[in-house]
Homo-oligomer: 144 residues x 2
């Protein structure tokens, strides 16, 4: 795919700028970028780097992530569930560990889907085996 988002990225920036009631040159100055370049970005003629995006976000006093999402550089929400997003974002894990958790999680979901269309039923044959050290874990078995 081309970059469908880029077009809207510029519009989004321009929109935000106009809502802030500041001129292109003003924003350019606040963001520390040149005004010609900002002009081109707003019109979708250039695809700004993340660094520039970051500066523009600061100039607009909005979150950089909002712009990254607009630019298609970040998924608005992680493609799958929040669990996967959280696992992926957890920098205290090794990639190997991450992969294990992801594999297990996905297999759980697949299993739940496969067993029947029903949501989470007993389906314990997987989780039945403690498998791992339970130290001071809070069972927290509140299933919905």
């Amino acid at each position: 795919m081309e970059l469908p988002k880029v077009a809207s990225l510029g519009e989004y920036i321009r929109q935000q700028r106009q809502q802030a009631k500041i001129s292109l040159r003003q924003l350019a100055a606040q963001a520390g970028v040149s005004n010609p370049y900002l002009s081109q970005v707003e019109r979708g003629l250039r695809k700004p780097s993340a660094e520039i995006l970051n500066q523009i976000a600061k100039g607009l006093h909005i979150s950089a992530q909002a712009l990254y999402v607009q630019a298609g550089l970040i998924e608005d929400r992680e493609p799958h569930s929040d669990v996967l997003a959280a696992i992926r974002a957890d920098m205290t894990l090794t990639s190997r560990q991450r992969q294990v958790l992801i594999d297990i999680y996905e297999s759980f979901r697949k299993e739940n889907r496969a067993d029947s269309a029903q949501p989470p039923q007993p389906a314990a044959h997987l989780g039945d085996d403690p498998v791992l050290p339970r130290d001071g874990i809070t069972p927290d078995s509140k299933e919905g």
Copy 2:
């Protein structure tokens, strides 16, 4: 975190890659970038665009935001370690499954803490053995 910025980005990527036990070329292939360029990025000779960063993150199975933070493109105010919260909030899992995931996650973290003060260590001995559901899981452990 107390991590420097762009300079450490390359090191961080290399570290993550080596922990995943994959070669530079492998990661380059998985990320869809050229291996010479990835080499330069890892050595801090080039500053990758957000798009490339995004692809590298996918190749490493880590969140793009983690890399953006490393690159100094995003302020690190992401509540990244919400794995437990996400797991607990996931209604598609059975409580058993939840418990398994939590156990594993806790053990991973404990292990990383115990092995040394450093966050992510090889620590493959846990992740290496799937331990779990061999139903439909694809461990996908594509290591060397």
